[in-house]
Point group: C2
Chain length 409, copies 2
C-alpha cells in the first residue's frame, strides 16, 4: 500500500514559494525588533506540563495542548505559547542577566484545535518581551515597536488600531459590581465582549455578578477612572500612533497584572483582534526567585499574513537564485566549474544537470522564477564567450564570466 502524501491536519507544508513569504515576513520582524535592541532567543518545543498548569489559560492547557507521558513517566507538552518558557529562562539566570532585558523569538507553537480561519495546530508566533522595567515606559516602547512593525510592512495608519486597557482598573470595576466575585470567569466573558450581542452579554453578565450596571459603566466608557485617562495620555504624548483606551479588552491569559492591549484590524469585514500583549509582573517570580516586572506581546504568522494579504501588502518575492545555467551537451562537470567561478563572486548559481533539451531547461528556469539563463556548451567553454539571456525581458548579451558580476541581474 502506498504512503499518504497528506500532511497532518492543521499543519502546513512550506514549499519554497510559501517559505519565501515566511522568510520575508520573519526577516522584517527580526529587523524591527533588533532595531529596538531586542535579542533573539529560543527554547525547547517540549516543556514540562507543570510549567503551563500554573498560569496559562486552563482551556489552552487542558483542552488545546498536545501533551503526553514520556517513557520515564513525565508529562510533557508541546509548547502552546512561549511566555512560560521565556519566564522560566529568565528565572533560571535571574542574577546573571542585565536589565532592562529585551528578548524576542519566533517559535513554532502547537495547539490541538479544530480548524478555522486563522487557527492552526502548528503556527509561528513573534514573541517580544522587556524584563525589569516597572513603569509605563516599557509598555510605551512595545507599542512603538507595534507602530514600527506595521509601518515596515507599509500598513497605513487607517488599517489598524491599538486598544489599551488596565487589568487593575478592570478588576476594580468587576469587584465593585460584586466583592466576592470569581474574577477569571468574568474576565473570560469580557474577553468575548466583541463576539457576543449586547443582549447575550448582559444576560451572561447578570448570572455572574450582582450589580452588572456598575461594571457596564466601566465597560461602556461611561465612567472611566482618572487613571485610565492619565495612562492613555502618557502613551499618546510619547508618540504612539493609532492608540485608544478600550475598557473591554481583557486578554485570555491569566497571568496579566496591569496594562493589556490588542491590535485590531479596522477593516469592517474583518474587524477583530490580530494580536496583543500586556504586563505580567508575577510570572518570573513563580519560579521561586525575586519577581521581575515584564511587558510582552505575541503575534501569530497566520493572522498577520491574512492582514497583509487583505491589505495587499505582500510584494512579489523573487527567487534567491541569480543565474540558471542551461547545459548544452554532456558537460555537467564543466558547467559546475563555471558555476563555481560565479559563486566566488557571491552569485547564487544553479546548474541544470538534467540533460534535457535546451527549451525544457529554460522552462524549468521559468518555473523556478529565475530570470537569468546562462548557456554553457563546448564552444562557449572554448571561446570563453557565453550567451546570457533575461527570460523576462528577452534581452540577450554575450559576455565573459568576469563581466557577469558587473551586470545588473
Amino acid at each position: 500500500m502506498s504512503l499518504n502524501t497528506q500532511n497532518y491536519k492543521g499543519t502546513r507544508d512550506f514549499y519554497p514559494e510559501e517559505m519565501r513569504l515566511s522568510k520575508w515576513m520573519f526577516g522584517k520582524w527580526r529587523e524591527v525588533l533588533e532595531s529596538f535592541g531586542y535579542e533573539e532567543y529560543d527554547g525547547p518545543v517540549l516543556e514540562s506540563f507543570d510549567l503551563y498548569a500554573a498560569k496559562t489559560s486552563e482551556e489552552i492547557v487542558q483542552e488545546q495542548s498536545f501533551n503526553f507521558e514520556d517513557r520515564g513517566g513525565r508529562r510533557v507538552v508541546m509548547r502552546p505559547e512561549m511566555t512560560p518558557t521565556v519566564s522560566r529562562m529568565v528565572a533560571k539566570k535571574r542574577q546573571e542577566l542585565g536589565y532592562p532585558l529585551r528578548m524576542y523569538s519566533i517559535p513554532n507553537c502547537f495547539r490541538y484545535e479544530r480548524q478555522q480561519r486563522g487557527r492552526l495546530r502548528e503556527f509561528w508566533q513573534l514573541n517580544a518581551d522587556i524584563f525589569g522595567v516597572d513603569t509605563v515606559v516599557a509598555e510605551i516602547e512595545l507599542l512603538l515597536v507595534v507602530n514600527k512593525l506595521m509601518e515596515s510592512f507599509g500598513a497605513p495608519d487607517s488599517a489598524y488600531q491599538i486598544r489599551v486597557n488596565s487589568r487593575v482598573l478592570l478588576n476594580e470595576a468587576i469587584i465593585d459590581s460584586q466583592p466576592q466575585v470569581e474574577l477569571a470567569s468574568v474576565l473570560r466573558l469580557i474577553d468575548n465582549y466583541d463576539k457576543l450581542s449586547s443582549d447575550e452579554f448582559d444576560a451572561k453578565l447578570a448570572t455572574l455578578v450582582d450589580k452588572p450596571e456598575v461594571l457596564k459603566k466601566y465597560l461602556t466608557g461611561e465612567s472611566l477612572p482618572e487613571q485610565a485617562q492619565a495612562v492613555i495620555d502618557k502613551i499618546v504624548t510619547a508618540g504612539v500612533q493609532n492608540v485608544v483606551y478600550s475598557p473591554t479588552i481583557a486578554r485570555g491569559f491569566d497571568y496579566y497584572t496591569d496594562i493589556v492591549f490588542e491590535v485590531f484590524d479596522t477593516n469592517p469585514e474583518n474587524n477583530r483582534a490580530m494580536f496583543g500583549g500586556g504586563r505580567y509582573d508575577g510570572l518570573v517570580g513563580e519560579f521561586g526567585v525575586a519577581p521581575v516586572p515584564t511587558v510582552g506581546f505575541g503575534m501569530g504568522d497566520v493572522t498577520f499574513e491574512n492582514f497583509l494579504r487583505s491589505n495587499d501588502l505582500i510584494p512579489v518575492l523573487p527567487s534567491e537564485t541569480d543565474i540558471y545555467i542551461v547545459t548544452i551537451g554532456d558537460i555537467a562537470v564543466q558547467a559546475q566549474q563555471v558555476a563555481g567561478r560565479l559563486r566566488d563572486y557571491s552569485l547564487n548559481v544553479t546548474v541544470d544537470l538534467s540533460g534535457k533539451k535546451i527549451d525544457k531547461q529554460i522552462k524549468t528556469a521559468e518555473k523556478k522564477g529565475v530570470n537569468n539563463v546562462l548557456f554553457v556548451g563546448e564552444s562557449e567553454l572554448e571561446s570563453g564567450q557565453f550567451k546570457l539571456k533575461n527570460i523576462q525581458t528577452g534581452e540577450e548579451q554575450t559576455v565573459t564570466l568576469d563581466q557577469i558580476p558587473e551586470l545588473p541581474l
Copy 2:
C-alpha cells in the same frame, strides 16, 4: 510550590549568546546552499506514524521517537528526521515541481535518546536534497556543497575527509558471502565497523553469513570492484576535495539505494563520522507516484558545533545592537525619540529605561556586549550635542545625531 526552572532533559535553552552562535552557523549554511541554487522549505513537526514505519531505521522509529495518539486516535510522531517529510512533499506535487529540484531545510528534529556527547532529544539538522538526477553528477554536486560548507567556516582540508561507498556494490559483496542473507542486519553490523574491534566484528559477522572472508575482502579494500574505482575517479576528476572510497561506510537508514557517504573528523581524538548522506531513489515512489531519483545529506548542529569548537573556528560574535543609550534623569520618553531618529538611519539602538545610576547603565551595556554608549540628558537634548563613548577603547567624542550614521561604530 515554586515552578522548576530546569528545561526538559536533552533539550537546550538558547539565550541570546547561544542564539548568536546558531544564527551565525545557520546563516552560513543558508548562504552556501543558496549559492548552489537550493531553496529553503519547511514541513510540520508532527507527522503520521506510518510515514516513518516504512523506511526510517526501525530502531529510530520504534525506540527513539516521541510518538503518541492524538484525541482522534491517530498515531503521530514528532519528526525524528526530515527525509520522509521532504519525500512526501515532493510526491504530493510530483507533477508541478520543476526538476532538477533542489531543496534545503534546517528543521528541529526529536529523538528519545539517552544523553551522550553530540546526542540530544531536540537538535537542528541541515537537510539538502537534489531530486530528479539519476547520474553521479548529483552526488558530485552535493560533495562540492560539502567542500564549500567546510571552506566557508575556514576548516582546513586536513580537518576532514569524505568517505564514499556504494550500497549496490556493498550489497553484492554481502550476497556473495551468502545468497539468502538478511541484508539489513549485516548492514547494521557494518555501520558499526569503526566502533568494534576487529575480533568483535569478525565474531559477529560469522554469525550472520556463511562466507565472511568473501565480504571481508570487499570491506578491507583487498578486492575493490572496477566500478568502485570508476565512481571515485569521476568524483575526484570533478574537483571534489578530500574524498576517498571507503568500503565500510554503510549508513543507518534503510532507504539508501546506491552511493552513500560520510564526512569524518580527522582529529585522532575525535575520529568519527560527523554527518553523511547518499542516494535514495525509491522513497518518493513509495507514495504511489512515479519514482524520483534523489540524493541528499543531513548534518546536525551539535556535532558540527563540536567540530568547529575543537578546530577553534568560532569567532567572537558581536551584539546586533549598535548603540546603547544611557539616560540621565527622568527622560525615557525623549531618549526613545532620540533612538527613533537613529533607527531611521538603520541603526539598532537600545534605550536603558531602568532609571538606574549612570555607571550601572554602562555596566549593563558592557554585559550585553554593546560597544557604543550615547549619553542623553536634558542638557544634551537642549544643545543637540551628545557624548558618544566606545566602552571597549575608552574613546569619547561629542557629536550631533546626524553625524552618528557617518561614524564607524
